[in-house]
Amino acid sequence: MDAPDERLVQTRRALGEQLAEQLADPQASLATLRELDERARLLDATIAARRPPPRRRLGAVLWPFACVALLLLAAATLRWPGSVPVTLELRASTVTATLPGALTTEARSIEGELVLEGFSAIEAAPGALAALGAEEQVDPVALRSDQTRLRALALPGPAELTLQVRGGRLSLAVESSRSPVVAHVELRGRSAVRAGDAPGPLEASLERAEWLRLVAGSAAAADRAAPPVELSWPLGPPATAPRFVELMPSALRFAERRAGAGVGATARWRSGVEGGQLTLAATGQVLPIAAGDWLEIDGLATERCEIAVAGELLTLKLNGSAQALRLRAGSLERSLKPTLLEYLSRHHVATLLWSSAVALWGAIAWTRRQFAQQP
Protein backbone atom coordinates (compact mmCIF):
# COMPACT_ATOMS: atom_id res chain seq x y z
CA MET A 1 0.00 0.00 0.00
CA ASP A 2 2.97 2.28 0.42
CA ALA A 3 3.98 2.79 -3.17
CA PRO A 4 0.61 3.96 -4.56
CA ASP A 5 0.27 6.25 -1.53
CA GLU A 6 3.67 7.72 -2.21
CA ARG A 7 2.73 8.31 -5.79
CA LEU A 8 -0.51 9.98 -4.72
CA VAL A 9 1.34 12.20 -2.25
CA GLN A 10 3.87 13.23 -4.90
CA THR A 11 1.11 13.93 -7.40
CA ARG A 12 -0.67 16.02 -4.78
CA ARG A 13 2.48 17.98 -4.12
CA ALA A 14 3.09 18.65 -7.83
CA LEU A 15 -0.55 19.64 -8.21
CA GLY A 16 -0.23 22.01 -5.28
CA GLU A 17 2.73 23.76 -6.90
CA GLN A 18 0.90 23.94 -10.22
CA LEU A 19 -2.14 25.45 -8.52
CA ALA A 20 0.05 28.02 -6.78
CA GLU A 21 1.65 29.01 -10.13
CA GLN A 22 -1.73 29.35 -11.85
CA LEU A 23 -3.10 31.42 -9.00
CA ALA A 24 -0.13 33.75 -9.19
CA ASP A 25 -0.77 34.23 -12.89
CA PRO A 26 -3.49 36.89 -13.31
CA GLN A 27 -4.25 35.63 -16.86
CA ALA A 28 -5.13 32.07 -15.80
CA SER A 29 -8.71 31.02 -16.61
CA LEU A 30 -11.13 30.23 -13.81
CA ALA A 31 -12.01 26.86 -15.35
CA THR A 32 -8.37 25.74 -15.13
CA LEU A 33 -8.17 26.90 -11.52
CA ARG A 34 -11.41 25.17 -10.60
CA GLU A 35 -10.25 21.96 -12.23
CA LEU A 36 -6.92 22.02 -10.41
CA ASP A 37 -8.67 22.74 -7.10
CA GLU A 38 -11.16 19.87 -7.69
CA ARG A 39 -8.28 17.47 -8.41
CA ALA A 40 -6.43 18.57 -5.29
CA ARG A 41 -9.51 17.96 -3.13
CA LEU A 42 -10.05 14.48 -4.60
CA LEU A 43 -6.42 13.58 -4.01
CA ASP A 44 -6.61 14.81 -0.38
CA ALA A 45 -9.73 12.73 0.29
CA THR A 46 -8.16 9.63 -1.24
CA ILE A 47 -4.93 9.98 0.67
CA ALA A 48 -6.78 10.51 3.99
CA ALA A 49 -9.06 7.52 3.35
CA ARG A 50 -6.12 5.26 2.63
CA ARG A 51 -4.07 6.35 5.71
CA PRO A 52 -4.08 3.61 8.37
CA PRO A 53 -5.99 4.65 11.47
CA PRO A 54 -3.62 5.82 14.22
CA ARG A 55 -3.06 3.24 16.96
CA ARG A 56 -4.86 4.44 20.04
CA ARG A 57 -2.01 4.05 22.54
CA LEU A 58 -3.52 3.39 25.89
CA GLY A 59 -0.29 4.17 27.66
CA ALA A 60 -0.14 7.73 26.33
CA VAL A 61 -3.70 8.33 27.45
CA LEU A 62 -3.44 6.86 30.87
CA TRP A 63 0.02 7.99 32.06
CA PRO A 64 -1.17 11.10 33.90
CA PHE A 65 -3.59 8.97 35.91
CA ALA A 66 -0.75 6.57 36.65
CA CYS A 67 1.37 9.48 37.86
CA VAL A 68 -1.33 10.71 40.22
CA ALA A 69 -1.91 7.19 41.49
CA LEU A 70 1.81 6.73 42.15
CA LEU A 71 2.02 10.04 44.05
CA LEU A 72 -0.95 9.10 46.19
CA LEU A 73 0.57 5.70 46.91
CA ALA A 74 3.85 7.30 47.98
CA ALA A 75 2.07 9.83 50.19
CA ALA A 76 0.01 7.14 51.83
CA THR A 77 2.98 4.86 52.49
CA LEU A 78 5.95 7.07 53.33
CA ARG A 79 6.22 8.32 56.89
CA TRP A 80 6.72 11.96 57.76
CA PRO A 81 10.52 12.34 57.68
CA GLY A 82 10.99 14.91 60.42
CA SER A 83 10.22 14.92 64.16
CA VAL A 84 6.65 14.49 65.26
CA PRO A 85 5.34 15.97 68.50
CA VAL A 86 4.45 13.22 70.95
CA THR A 87 2.59 13.11 74.25
CA LEU A 88 2.96 9.83 76.11
CA GLU A 89 1.36 8.59 79.31
CA LEU A 90 2.59 5.18 80.20
CA ARG A 91 2.71 2.71 83.08
CA ALA A 92 5.68 0.40 83.07
CA SER A 93 7.77 -1.61 85.45
CA THR A 94 11.04 -0.55 83.80
CA VAL A 95 12.09 2.64 82.05
CA THR A 96 15.49 2.92 80.37
CA ALA A 97 16.34 6.50 79.44
CA THR A 98 19.34 7.43 77.29
CA LEU A 99 20.68 10.71 78.62
CA PRO A 100 22.58 12.71 76.03
CA GLY A 101 24.64 14.90 78.31
CA ALA A 102 25.91 15.43 81.82
CA LEU A 103 23.32 15.31 84.56
CA THR A 104 23.24 15.82 88.31
CA THR A 105 20.11 14.50 89.95
CA GLU A 106 18.24 16.44 92.57
CA ALA A 107 18.39 15.72 96.26
CA ARG A 108 16.03 13.01 97.53
CA SER A 109 15.24 11.87 101.02
CA ILE A 110 15.38 8.14 101.46
CA GLU A 111 13.58 6.06 104.07
CA GLY A 112 15.01 2.69 104.84
CA GLU A 113 18.21 1.08 103.68
CA LEU A 114 20.00 2.55 100.68
CA VAL A 115 22.20 0.05 98.86
CA LEU A 116 24.86 1.24 96.42
CA GLU A 117 26.60 -1.32 94.22
CA GLY A 118 29.38 -0.98 91.74
CA PHE A 119 31.33 1.91 93.23
CA SER A 120 35.09 1.68 93.51
CA ALA A 121 36.06 4.22 96.18
CA ILE A 122 34.53 6.03 99.10
CA GLU A 123 35.37 9.39 100.66
CA ALA A 124 34.04 10.33 104.04
CA ALA A 125 33.87 13.51 106.04
CA PRO A 126 36.45 13.63 108.83
CA GLY A 127 33.99 12.88 111.55
CA ALA A 128 32.43 9.80 113.02
CA LEU A 129 32.42 8.05 109.65
CA ALA A 130 36.01 8.88 108.76
CA ALA A 131 37.03 5.23 109.07
CA LEU A 132 35.04 4.44 105.95
CA GLY A 133 37.47 6.43 103.86
CA ALA A 134 40.09 3.76 104.42
CA GLU A 135 37.92 0.91 103.15
CA GLU A 136 39.34 -0.89 100.14
CA GLN A 137 36.32 -2.90 99.16
CA VAL A 138 33.22 -0.77 98.79
CA ASP A 139 30.97 -2.97 96.70
CA PRO A 140 28.23 -3.02 97.95
CA VAL A 141 27.60 -0.28 100.50
CA ALA A 142 24.43 -0.42 102.61
CA LEU A 143 23.43 2.70 104.54
CA ARG A 144 20.73 3.25 107.04
CA SER A 145 20.07 6.30 109.19
CA ASP A 146 17.33 8.49 110.63
CA GLN A 147 17.69 11.07 107.88
CA THR A 148 19.31 9.65 104.77
CA ARG A 149 19.57 11.93 101.80
CA LEU A 150 20.82 11.01 98.36
CA ARG A 151 22.07 14.49 97.75
CA ALA A 152 23.24 14.07 94.17
CA LEU A 153 24.17 11.48 91.60
CA ALA A 154 26.57 13.19 89.24
CA LEU A 155 26.85 11.75 85.74
CA PRO A 156 29.63 13.40 83.73
CA GLY A 157 28.52 12.49 80.25
CA PRO A 158 26.14 10.49 78.09
CA ALA A 159 24.68 7.64 80.08
CA GLU A 160 21.91 5.07 80.16
CA LEU A 161 19.76 5.23 83.26
CA THR A 162 17.33 2.42 84.09
CA LEU A 163 14.64 2.82 86.69
CA GLN A 164 12.94 -0.33 87.85
CA VAL A 165 10.41 -1.17 90.54
CA ARG A 166 10.69 -4.68 91.85
CA GLY A 167 9.70 -6.24 95.13
CA GLY A 168 8.84 -2.97 96.83
CA ARG A 169 12.23 -1.44 95.99
CA LEU A 170 13.16 1.17 93.43
CA SER A 171 16.43 0.54 91.67
CA LEU A 172 18.35 3.08 89.63
CA ALA A 173 21.04 1.54 87.43
CA VAL A 174 23.44 3.73 85.51
CA GLU A 175 25.86 2.86 82.71
CA SER A 176 27.86 5.97 81.98
CA SER A 177 30.16 6.38 79.01
CA ARG A 178 32.40 8.74 80.93
CA SER A 179 34.02 8.67 84.35
CA PRO A 180 33.64 9.28 87.21
CA VAL A 181 30.11 8.65 88.46
CA VAL A 182 29.78 10.17 91.93
CA ALA A 183 27.03 9.58 94.48
CA HIS A 184 26.75 12.04 97.36
CA VAL A 185 24.99 10.80 100.44
CA GLU A 186 24.28 12.58 103.71
CA LEU A 187 23.45 10.71 106.92
CA ARG A 188 22.12 12.13 110.15
CA GLY A 189 20.97 10.65 113.39
CA ARG A 190 21.54 7.01 114.32
CA SER A 191 23.44 5.59 111.37
CA ALA A 192 24.80 2.22 110.32
CA VAL A 193 27.02 1.86 107.27
CA ARG A 194 28.24 -1.49 106.00
CA ALA A 195 30.87 -1.32 103.28
CA GLY A 196 32.07 -4.24 101.19
CA ASP A 197 32.84 -7.43 103.02
CA ALA A 198 33.21 -5.83 106.46
CA PRO A 199 31.87 -8.19 109.12
CA GLY A 200 29.69 -5.61 110.80
CA PRO A 201 28.32 -2.17 110.10
CA LEU A 202 30.00 1.01 111.25
CA GLU A 203 27.51 2.50 113.64
CA ALA A 204 27.45 6.06 114.84
CA SER A 205 25.03 8.52 116.30
CA LEU A 206 25.43 11.65 114.26
CA GLU A 207 24.20 14.88 115.71
CA ARG A 208 25.03 16.69 112.51
CA ALA A 209 24.87 15.26 109.04
CA GLU A 210 27.99 13.59 107.74
CA TRP A 211 28.63 13.26 104.06
CA LEU A 212 29.88 10.32 102.06
CA ARG A 213 31.07 10.43 98.52
CA LEU A 214 31.12 7.20 96.50
CA VAL A 215 33.05 7.28 93.25
CA ALA A 216 32.90 4.82 90.35
CA GLY A 217 35.73 5.10 87.86
CA SER A 218 38.36 7.80 88.19
CA ALA A 219 38.57 11.39 87.04
CA ALA A 220 42.02 10.69 85.60
CA ALA A 221 40.53 8.41 82.94
CA ALA A 222 37.56 10.63 82.12
CA ASP A 223 37.00 9.21 78.65
CA ARG A 224 36.75 5.66 79.80
CA ALA A 225 33.31 4.24 80.61
CA ALA A 226 32.58 4.08 84.31
CA PRO A 227 31.69 0.69 85.78
CA PRO A 228 27.94 0.13 85.92
CA VAL A 229 26.47 1.19 89.25
CA GLU A 230 23.14 0.50 90.86
CA LEU A 231 21.39 2.28 93.70
CA SER A 232 18.29 0.84 95.30
CA TRP A 233 16.08 1.77 98.17
CA PRO A 234 12.71 0.66 99.49
CA LEU A 235 9.56 2.45 98.53
CA GLY A 236 7.73 4.13 101.34
CA PRO A 237 4.16 5.33 101.61
CA PRO A 238 2.70 6.87 98.45
CA ALA A 239 3.08 10.38 99.86
CA THR A 240 6.86 10.05 99.79
CA ALA A 241 7.06 8.28 96.44
CA PRO A 242 10.05 9.55 94.48
CA ARG A 243 9.56 11.62 91.37
CA PHE A 244 12.18 12.25 88.69
CA VAL A 245 11.63 15.43 86.71
CA GLU A 246 15.21 16.35 85.88
CA LEU A 247 15.79 13.63 83.28
CA MET A 248 15.75 14.79 79.66
CA PRO A 249 16.14 11.58 77.72
CA SER A 250 16.96 11.35 74.04
CA ALA A 251 15.72 7.76 73.71
CA LEU A 252 13.39 5.54 75.72
CA ARG A 253 13.09 1.79 76.02
CA PHE A 254 10.94 -0.34 78.27
CA ALA A 255 12.58 -3.74 78.18
CA GLU A 256 12.77 -5.73 81.37
CA ARG A 257 15.09 -8.59 82.07
CA ARG A 258 13.42 -11.50 83.74
CA ALA A 259 15.74 -14.04 85.33
CA GLY A 260 14.76 -17.50 84.26
CA ALA A 261 13.35 -19.83 86.86
CA GLY A 262 15.56 -22.66 87.98
CA VAL A 263 19.30 -23.11 87.97
CA GLY A 264 21.03 -22.45 84.69
CA ALA A 265 17.94 -21.05 83.01
CA THR A 266 18.58 -18.22 80.60
CA ALA A 267 17.23 -14.77 81.32
CA ARG A 268 14.52 -13.52 79.04
CA TRP A 269 13.78 -10.04 77.89
CA ARG A 270 10.21 -8.92 77.94
CA SER A 271 8.48 -5.62 77.63
CA GLY A 272 7.91 -3.79 80.88
CA VAL A 273 4.99 -1.80 79.47
CA GLU A 274 1.75 -2.26 81.37
CA GLY A 275 -0.43 0.14 79.44
CA GLY A 276 -0.85 3.70 78.38
CA GLN A 277 -1.66 5.95 75.50
CA LEU A 278 0.29 7.90 72.96
CA THR A 279 -1.07 11.10 71.43
CA LEU A 280 0.31 12.50 68.19
CA ALA A 281 -0.43 16.21 68.10
CA ALA A 282 0.37 16.38 64.39
CA THR A 283 -2.64 14.28 63.42
CA GLY A 284 -4.67 14.31 66.62
CA GLN A 285 -4.50 10.52 66.85
CA VAL A 286 -4.70 8.83 70.22
CA LEU A 287 -3.15 5.38 70.12
CA PRO A 288 -3.69 2.98 73.01
CA ILE A 289 -0.73 0.89 74.08
CA ALA A 290 -1.51 -2.49 75.52
CA ALA A 291 0.41 -4.37 78.19
CA GLY A 292 3.34 -6.30 76.75
CA ASP A 293 3.76 -4.13 73.64
CA TRP A 294 7.30 -3.21 72.76
CA LEU A 295 7.58 0.58 72.46
CA GLU A 296 10.77 2.27 71.28
CA ILE A 297 11.28 6.02 70.99
CA ASP A 298 14.42 7.50 69.45
CA GLY A 299 15.69 10.93 68.52
CA LEU A 300 13.67 12.50 71.32
CA ALA A 301 13.78 16.20 72.07
CA THR A 302 12.15 16.25 75.49
CA GLU A 303 10.17 19.19 76.74
CA ARG A 304 8.87 17.58 79.90
CA CYS A 305 9.59 14.15 81.28
CA GLU A 306 8.23 13.09 84.63
CA ILE A 307 8.74 9.62 86.03
CA ALA A 308 6.96 8.86 89.28
CA VAL A 309 6.33 5.74 91.30
CA ALA A 310 2.69 4.70 91.71
CA GLY A 311 2.24 1.51 93.64
CA GLU A 312 4.32 -1.20 92.01
CA LEU A 313 4.74 0.59 88.70
CA LEU A 314 6.47 3.61 87.25
CA THR A 315 4.32 6.21 85.54
CA LEU A 316 5.91 8.16 82.73
CA LYS A 317 4.52 11.45 81.44
CA LEU A 318 6.40 12.65 78.40
CA ASN A 319 6.01 15.69 76.14
CA GLY A 320 8.41 16.21 73.30
CA SER A 321 9.08 15.43 69.67
CA ALA A 322 10.53 12.17 68.42
CA GLN A 323 12.29 11.13 65.24
CA ALA A 324 11.37 7.47 65.50
CA LEU A 325 8.37 5.81 67.16
CA ARG A 326 8.12 2.05 66.86
CA LEU A 327 5.50 -0.22 68.33
CA ARG A 328 5.79 -3.99 68.20
CA ALA A 329 2.77 -6.01 69.25
CA GLY A 330 3.50 -9.68 68.87
CA SER A 331 5.11 -10.11 65.49
CA LEU A 332 3.58 -6.98 63.97
CA GLU A 333 5.99 -4.06 63.97
CA ARG A 334 4.91 -0.68 62.77
CA SER A 335 5.99 2.88 62.93
CA LEU A 336 3.63 5.19 64.75
CA LYS A 337 4.68 8.29 62.86
CA PRO A 338 1.97 9.68 60.58
CA THR A 339 2.25 9.19 56.83
CA LEU A 340 2.72 12.15 54.54
CA LEU A 341 -0.92 11.96 53.45
CA GLU A 342 -2.22 11.94 57.02
CA TYR A 343 0.00 14.85 57.96
CA LEU A 344 -0.92 16.94 54.89
CA SER A 345 -4.60 16.17 55.18
CA ARG A 346 -4.51 17.43 58.74
CA HIS A 347 -2.51 20.58 58.26
CA HIS A 348 -2.73 21.57 54.62
CA VAL A 349 -6.22 20.52 53.55
CA ALA A 350 -6.78 23.44 51.20
CA THR A 351 -3.45 22.90 49.41
CA LEU A 352 -4.16 19.20 49.07
CA LEU A 353 -7.61 19.75 47.56
CA TRP A 354 -6.41 22.43 45.16
CA SER A 355 -3.46 20.41 43.90
CA SER A 356 -5.68 17.32 43.51
CA ALA A 357 -8.21 19.37 41.51
CA VAL A 358 -5.48 20.83 39.28
CA ALA A 359 -3.90 17.42 38.70
CA LEU A 360 -7.25 15.87 37.85
CA TRP A 361 -8.19 18.65 35.48
CA GLY A 362 -4.81 18.35 33.78
CA ALA A 363 -5.24 14.59 33.40
CA ILE A 364 -8.74 14.91 31.92
CA ALA A 365 -7.64 17.64 29.51
CA TRP A 366 -4.74 15.52 28.33
CA THR A 367 -6.98 12.53 27.73
CA ARG A 368 -9.47 14.61 25.83
CA ARG A 369 -6.66 15.95 23.68
CA GLN A 370 -5.48 12.43 22.95
CA PHE A 371 -8.92 11.39 21.81
CA ALA A 372 -9.47 14.63 19.93
CA GLN A 373 -6.44 13.92 17.74
CA GLN A 374 -8.49 11.43 15.84
CA PRO A 375 -9.79 12.97 12.66
Binding site: P126, A128, A130, A154, H184, E207, R208, W211, R213
Partner: protein, 258 residues
Amino acid sequence: MHWLAATMLAPRTAAICALALAASAALAGPFECAPLQPSAARAPAYGPAANPGHCEGFFEKTVSQPFIELLSLTRANSPELPSGPLSLKAGAGKPLRIVVQPLRSRPTYRADLQLDPGAVRRWDPSAMLAATGLRAPDLGFLATADAATPSASSGEPAAFVPVEVLPAAATSATALAVLRVSVPVASVSWRSYRIGGAGEPAPPWTALPGSRLLQWQRIALPIALPPDGRTLRVDIEAVDAQDGRALPQLHFLVLGSQ
Protein backbone atom coordinates in the same frame (compact mmCIF):
# COMPACT_ATOMS: atom_id res chain seq x y z
CA MET B 1 66.72 62.94 61.15
CA HIS B 2 66.97 60.24 63.77
CA TRP B 3 64.62 61.99 66.15
CA LEU B 4 62.13 62.48 63.36
CA ALA B 5 62.19 58.79 62.55
CA ALA B 6 61.89 57.95 66.25
CA THR B 7 58.80 60.10 66.74
CA MET B 8 57.20 58.55 63.68
CA LEU B 9 58.01 55.04 64.83
CA ALA B 10 56.99 55.59 68.48
CA PRO B 11 53.19 55.53 67.95
CA ARG B 12 53.52 52.42 65.82
CA THR B 13 55.62 50.55 68.38
CA ALA B 14 53.27 51.71 71.10
CA ALA B 15 50.36 50.29 69.12
CA ILE B 16 52.21 47.02 68.57
CA CYS B 17 53.06 46.79 72.26
CA ALA B 18 49.42 47.39 73.25
CA LEU B 19 48.31 44.76 70.76
CA ALA B 20 50.81 42.24 72.12
CA LEU B 21 49.68 42.94 75.68
CA ALA B 22 46.04 42.53 74.76
CA ALA B 23 46.81 39.34 72.89
CA SER B 24 48.73 37.90 75.82
CA ALA B 25 45.92 38.83 78.17
CA ALA B 26 43.47 37.13 75.85
CA LEU B 27 45.67 34.06 75.46
CA ALA B 28 45.83 33.66 79.23
CA GLY B 29 42.47 31.91 79.02
CA PRO B 30 39.29 32.99 77.35
CA PHE B 31 37.11 34.94 79.75
CA GLU B 32 33.49 34.27 78.97
CA CYS B 33 30.38 35.65 80.52
CA ALA B 34 28.54 33.24 82.77
CA PRO B 35 25.87 31.17 81.01
CA LEU B 36 23.00 33.24 82.35
CA GLN B 37 19.91 34.33 80.52
CA PRO B 38 20.02 38.10 80.03
CA SER B 39 16.97 39.89 81.32
CA ALA B 40 14.44 40.90 78.74
CA ALA B 41 12.65 43.34 81.02
CA ARG B 42 15.35 45.39 82.70
CA ALA B 43 18.29 47.24 81.27
CA PRO B 44 21.23 46.84 81.14
CA ALA B 45 20.91 43.13 80.30
CA TYR B 46 23.71 40.77 81.30
CA GLY B 47 26.43 40.80 78.71
CA PRO B 48 29.98 41.87 77.96
CA ALA B 49 30.83 45.40 79.00
CA ALA B 50 33.12 47.88 77.26
CA ASN B 51 36.37 46.61 78.80
CA PRO B 52 37.56 43.06 78.13
CA GLY B 53 37.22 40.63 81.01
CA HIS B 54 34.10 42.33 82.31
CA CYS B 55 30.47 41.20 82.05
CA GLU B 56 27.66 42.93 83.91
CA GLY B 57 23.89 43.31 83.92
CA PHE B 58 20.47 42.00 84.90
CA PHE B 59 19.69 38.34 84.28
CA GLU B 60 16.70 36.02 84.59
CA LYS B 61 16.76 33.52 87.39
CA THR B 62 16.17 30.17 85.71
CA VAL B 63 17.65 27.75 88.24
CA SER B 64 16.05 26.99 91.56
CA GLN B 65 17.55 28.50 94.67
CA PRO B 66 19.76 26.29 96.84
CA PHE B 67 18.65 26.14 100.47
CA ILE B 68 21.77 27.85 101.75
CA GLU B 69 24.04 29.86 99.53
CA LEU B 70 27.44 31.52 99.84
CA LEU B 71 27.31 35.09 98.58
CA SER B 72 30.52 36.70 99.66
CA LEU B 73 33.95 35.61 100.84
CA THR B 74 36.24 38.49 101.72
CA ARG B 75 39.16 39.17 104.00
CA ALA B 76 38.00 40.44 107.35
CA ASN B 77 40.35 43.39 107.22
CA SER B 78 38.45 44.99 104.36
CA PRO B 79 37.62 48.44 105.60
CA GLU B 80 34.45 50.38 105.05
CA LEU B 81 33.98 50.24 101.31
CA PRO B 82 35.01 53.53 99.77
CA SER B 83 32.73 55.28 97.37
CA GLY B 84 33.98 55.33 93.84
CA PRO B 85 36.05 52.75 91.99
CA LEU B 86 37.16 49.73 94.03
CA SER B 87 40.47 47.93 93.82
CA LEU B 88 40.06 44.18 94.25
CA LYS B 89 42.78 41.66 94.87
CA ALA B 90 42.89 37.96 95.65
CA GLY B 91 46.12 36.15 96.35
CA ALA B 92 46.28 33.10 94.09
CA GLY B 93 48.57 31.72 91.44
CA LYS B 94 45.98 31.39 88.70
CA PRO B 95 43.46 33.59 86.94
CA LEU B 96 40.28 34.03 88.91
CA ARG B 97 36.78 35.24 88.21
CA ILE B 98 35.33 37.75 90.65
CA VAL B 99 31.55 37.61 90.92
CA VAL B 100 29.85 40.65 92.42
CA GLN B 101 26.22 40.21 93.34
CA PRO B 102 23.79 41.88 95.73
CA LEU B 103 23.48 40.26 99.14
CA ARG B 104 19.72 40.48 98.79
CA SER B 105 17.77 37.98 96.74
CA ARG B 106 16.57 40.74 94.43
CA PRO B 107 17.39 42.37 92.05
CA THR B 108 19.14 39.70 89.98
CA TYR B 109 22.13 41.69 88.86
CA ARG B 110 25.62 40.31 88.53
CA ALA B 111 29.05 41.49 87.49
CA ASP B 112 31.81 39.11 86.44
CA LEU B 113 35.36 40.44 86.45
CA GLN B 114 38.53 38.76 85.31
CA LEU B 115 41.39 38.86 87.76
CA ASP B 116 44.88 38.03 86.55
CA PRO B 117 47.23 36.33 88.98
CA GLY B 118 48.89 38.77 91.32
CA ALA B 119 47.17 41.77 89.75
CA VAL B 120 44.84 44.35 91.21
CA ARG B 121 41.49 44.79 89.47
CA ARG B 122 39.87 48.16 89.41
CA TRP B 123 36.12 48.26 89.04
CA ASP B 124 33.64 51.06 89.24
CA PRO B 125 30.48 49.92 91.04
CA SER B 126 28.55 53.09 90.20
CA ALA B 127 26.87 51.46 87.19
CA MET B 128 25.67 48.54 89.28
CA LEU B 129 24.63 50.70 92.23
CA ALA B 130 22.74 53.12 90.02
CA ALA B 131 20.90 50.35 88.16
CA THR B 132 19.94 48.40 91.28
CA GLY B 133 19.51 51.21 93.80
CA LEU B 134 21.82 49.53 96.31
CA ARG B 135 24.70 50.90 98.37
CA ALA B 136 28.27 49.64 98.41
CA PRO B 137 27.95 47.57 101.65
CA ASP B 138 25.08 45.61 100.04
CA LEU B 139 27.45 43.95 97.59
CA GLY B 140 29.04 40.51 97.96
CA PHE B 141 32.34 39.48 96.36
CA LEU B 142 33.31 35.94 95.43
CA ALA B 143 36.51 34.94 93.66
CA THR B 144 36.35 31.54 92.05
CA ALA B 145 38.71 29.54 89.91
CA ASP B 146 35.87 27.66 88.21
CA ALA B 147 34.84 28.36 84.68
CA ALA B 148 31.59 30.25 84.80
CA THR B 149 29.39 29.67 87.80
CA PRO B 150 30.53 29.20 91.36
CA SER B 151 28.08 26.39 91.98
CA ALA B 152 29.40 22.86 91.89
CA SER B 153 27.83 20.64 89.31
CA SER B 154 30.06 17.61 89.14
CA GLY B 155 30.06 16.68 92.79
CA GLU B 156 33.20 18.58 93.74
CA PRO B 157 32.68 21.46 96.12
CA ALA B 158 33.26 24.91 94.67
CA ALA B 159 36.57 26.60 95.48
CA PHE B 160 36.91 30.24 96.37
CA VAL B 161 39.70 32.64 97.29
CA PRO B 162 38.99 35.40 99.81
CA VAL B 163 38.75 38.77 98.08
CA GLU B 164 40.63 41.69 99.49
CA VAL B 165 39.32 45.18 98.92
CA LEU B 166 42.10 47.76 98.94
CA PRO B 167 43.27 49.73 100.74
CA ALA B 168 43.68 47.10 103.46
CA ALA B 169 44.95 47.89 106.90
CA ALA B 170 46.97 44.71 107.44
CA THR B 171 46.88 41.16 106.20
CA SER B 172 44.24 39.40 108.17
CA ALA B 173 44.09 35.69 108.85
CA THR B 174 40.30 35.64 108.97
CA ALA B 175 37.91 35.42 106.08
CA LEU B 176 34.33 36.60 106.33
CA ALA B 177 31.71 34.51 104.58
CA VAL B 178 28.17 35.80 104.09
CA LEU B 179 25.51 33.11 103.79
CA ARG B 180 21.87 33.44 102.79
CA VAL B 181 19.07 30.95 103.37
CA SER B 182 16.09 30.53 101.08
CA VAL B 183 13.80 28.92 103.68
CA PRO B 184 13.20 29.69 107.39
CA VAL B 185 15.98 28.06 109.38
CA ALA B 186 16.14 27.12 113.05
CA SER B 187 19.92 26.98 113.41
CA VAL B 188 23.10 26.99 111.34
CA SER B 189 26.19 24.98 112.31
CA TRP B 190 29.53 24.82 110.60
CA ARG B 191 32.93 23.20 110.73
CA SER B 192 36.14 23.58 108.81
CA TYR B 193 39.02 21.20 108.27
CA ARG B 194 42.07 20.95 106.10
CA ILE B 195 42.05 18.82 103.02
CA GLY B 196 44.25 15.78 103.19
CA GLY B 197 44.69 16.05 106.94
CA ALA B 198 44.61 12.36 107.71
CA GLY B 199 44.82 11.33 111.31
CA GLU B 200 43.72 14.67 112.63
CA PRO B 201 41.00 14.67 115.23
CA ALA B 202 37.47 15.09 114.00
CA PRO B 203 36.68 18.80 113.60
CA PRO B 204 33.90 19.91 115.89
CA TRP B 205 30.68 21.38 114.71
CA THR B 206 30.06 24.91 115.92
CA ALA B 207 26.62 26.41 116.08
CA LEU B 208 26.46 29.96 114.85
CA PRO B 209 24.96 32.29 117.42
CA GLY B 210 21.87 34.12 116.33
CA SER B 211 21.27 31.75 113.48
CA ARG B 212 17.50 31.51 113.77
CA LEU B 213 16.88 33.02 110.37
CA LEU B 214 13.90 34.02 108.32
CA GLN B 215 13.63 33.34 104.65
CA TRP B 216 16.22 35.23 102.60
CA GLN B 217 17.98 36.42 105.74
CA ARG B 218 21.76 36.62 105.77
CA ILE B 219 24.35 35.71 108.37
CA ALA B 220 28.05 36.38 108.51
CA LEU B 221 30.51 33.63 109.36
CA PRO B 222 34.11 34.38 110.30
CA ILE B 223 36.49 31.62 109.15
CA ALA B 224 40.01 31.41 110.50
CA LEU B 225 42.41 30.73 107.65
CA PRO B 226 45.18 28.18 108.28
CA PRO B 227 48.57 29.81 108.66
CA ASP B 228 50.29 27.41 106.29
CA GLY B 229 48.06 28.49 103.43
CA ARG B 230 46.58 25.04 102.73
CA THR B 231 43.12 24.54 101.36
CA LEU B 232 40.34 24.58 103.91
CA ARG B 233 37.05 22.77 103.45
CA VAL B 234 33.97 24.26 105.09
CA ASP B 235 30.76 22.29 105.74
CA ILE B 236 27.67 24.23 106.72
CA GLU B 237 24.47 22.62 107.90
CA ALA B 238 21.16 24.37 108.41
CA VAL B 239 18.17 22.86 110.15
CA ASP B 240 14.79 23.61 108.65
CA ALA B 241 12.57 25.58 111.01
CA GLN B 242 9.41 23.84 109.87
CA ASP B 243 10.14 20.13 110.27
CA GLY B 244 13.43 20.06 112.14
CA ARG B 245 15.17 18.09 109.41
CA ALA B 246 18.59 19.03 108.16
CA LEU B 247 18.70 20.73 104.80
CA PRO B 248 21.26 19.60 102.20
CA GLN B 249 24.62 20.85 103.40
CA LEU B 250 26.67 23.56 101.77
CA HIS B 251 30.24 22.58 101.06
CA PHE B 252 32.95 24.84 99.71
CA LEU B 253 36.69 25.11 99.66
CA VAL B 254 38.70 28.13 100.70
CA LEU B 255 41.89 28.11 98.68
CA GLY B 256 44.97 29.25 100.48
CA SER B 257 47.69 31.48 99.23
CA GLN B 258 49.61 28.57 97.65
